[in-house]
Symmetry: D3
Subunit: 132 residues, 6 copies
Amino acid sequence: MFAVTVRDHMMIAHSLRGETFGPAQRLHGATYVVDATFRRVALDADNIVIDIGRASDQLHALLAELSYRNLDEEDAFEGVNTSTEALAQVVADRLAERARAGALGEGAHELHSIAVTLRESHVASASYERPL
Amino acid sequence: MFAVTVRDHMMIAHSLRGETFGPAQRLHGATYVVDATFRRVALDADNIVIDIGRASDQLHALLAELSYRNLDEEDAFEGVNTSTEALAQVVADRLAERARAGALGEGAHELHSIAVTLRESHVASASYERPL
Amino acid sequence: MFAVTVRDHMMIAHSLRGETFGPAQRLHGATYVVDATFRRVALDADNIVIDIGRASDQLHALLAELSYRNLDEEDAFEGVNTSTEALAQVVADRLAERARAGALGEGAHELHSIAVTLRESHVASASYERPL
Amino acid sequence: MFAVTVRDHMMIAHSLRGETFGPAQRLHGATYVVDATFRRVALDADNIVIDIGRASDQLHALLAELSYRNLDEEDAFEGVNTSTEALAQVVADRLAERARAGALGEGAHELHSIAVTLRESHVASASYERPL
Amino acid sequence: MFAVTVRDHMMIAHSLRGETFGPAQRLHGATYVVDATFRRVALDADNIVIDIGRASDQLHALLAELSYRNLDEEDAFEGVNTSTEALAQVVADRLAERARAGALGEGAHELHSIAVTLRESHVASASYERPL
Amino acid sequence: MFAVTVRDHMMIAHSLRGETFGPAQRLHGATYVVDATFRRVALDADNIVIDIGRASDQLHALLAELSYRNLDEEDAFEGVNTSTEALAQVVADRLAERARAGALGEGAHELHSIAVTLRESHVASASYERPL
């Protein structure tokens, strides 16, 4: 199995609902350093999984839709706890949509799976992996 | 599959038995930067795998039982080569015990697996993954 | 010259005023991974600059006053652009106050200077250094 | 499952063929920071997956065969696009050959799989994993 | 003293002349992860050293002039050993030119100094610092 | 001012004397990831501060004298608290001796200063800088 990973980041404000979250129930924020991994069983005719430049561009465009925003006021997240793990799923699902729509190139239709990791600090991260 | 990872560290002295280990047969020591990863198929009612704060606290308490000690003189490791891989298993198994005992919250009973990586330097690490 | 550096982090929401900041004028947030460096010309009687445990505890307590908050609503920052560089100064000045008040131990009175770096992502950081 | 990872690097020149690669079609170069991971279901009699020192030495020797070279002029890569993913496979396959030849010790015959990751920058990497 | 640092990278081919360089006398290549640091005694009216977005854009544009090239064939480096330290100076000097030309904003005229670090691997880097 | 930094590591056991150190008064250990920085005002005839390969070899040889040892039983440290800061000075002083003895090449006589940082974990480090 082959994989390619590209990294970018987003900066958001949000709050989390539920006693579990303690002080994180207050409005605060986070930088998420995002690693998007694309897996494929075999390489394509160019000998790659996916073009790193194209993958970086698509990840950047996708994160720009979320970054510099207060997620508590975004329609897409109404009634949703925007935990790090939940946001990892959002990013992975949106990358999968872009792959299916052709934005990642023809070869992206051969992708096996996508994994997304969000690092919220030097000591904590969350990830989500899904088939394509 | 979702995952959450928290990081902490421990500082120990030990020696390793067997010609394989060369100079590491002498009493020496290590800082292990420890990444504990908790995996779960679906998120809980709070939209998380496990509370990051609680996971950090439990990992910290567990590592405090090992840190600032000479493992050669600990009863728990009598006759055991405390290699990085073996210590990764010790940490993972003790986290699993704490999860089963409820210390990681009710949701921890739904955990799929635990993986522990110990980084012993900037160029070497070992890990152990087990189901829960 | 000797130095000791300890690391911790804080997660905050804020917005920045001024056209310069583009999309960062919207309410958003950041994780700041904070490195606090304490410099001293000579070591103390224990052969250290400052106790690493004590420095970590004081940095953690100080960051807890800022973390999990919307800085736009904090009295301390009324009318202030809470840029990364400005927050680095806030952390350094508050550490200096704690040092002068004795919270970092007697030896802290011999400190030469304090430098604070805030990493806001994997590609950007800001710092402030001041004498003590 | 247990794993041990060792890190080293290589510095090479090459060019990539195909419009996909844009400016990377020109002769340029890269530092690849290489992580080689060895997996094994159970530990050996010394309580390890593989000796970290021996694994490091073999990885270093293998990378020395590739480093400080223009891959466009190496016979081994004639007609081959030396993408990061393709080079990850080359390193993994050559490690597997060394393992089978006994260079990684007797225990290496029990290895389950080898995974190799090549980090080409702070924002991009590729990897290849194979059974042994 | 305040500072802001932004990070980007470039990938180049080159060779080094002189017995000192051993195998690096052959045509090879490198990824340089570049940290550009801008220092200033006091903050500007926006409470910043320099706009991080603008600094990132200028660093990226500057590195694009060097990246994906064989430096041995660039007129700018004829007869010059393009060591990591020499390239750090090239990047710092070109940033200084851009600062003086106004590309980094009006505030850049108040910059005290620029420091550039090029990381060529996980174990080696070089830097150059100059007044502005 | 130019600088070159090389990285290596050592793994030692030791204990620290004095109530300040709490649990670190027990025999324990550490991995120190060591960054050695060599500064020079101007580059030499080869356009470098110091040969990176030679600097790495000397740092490695020097750390081998300390690594895989219990510092409490080394004559060189009798009656000395081997804090991270104190060990940074030991490494810097020994590098300076090697530089003066010619082991770092003729150009090393032009070095301005040496700085050594020891990272003892992902959250703490100490350093020492001295003229040459």
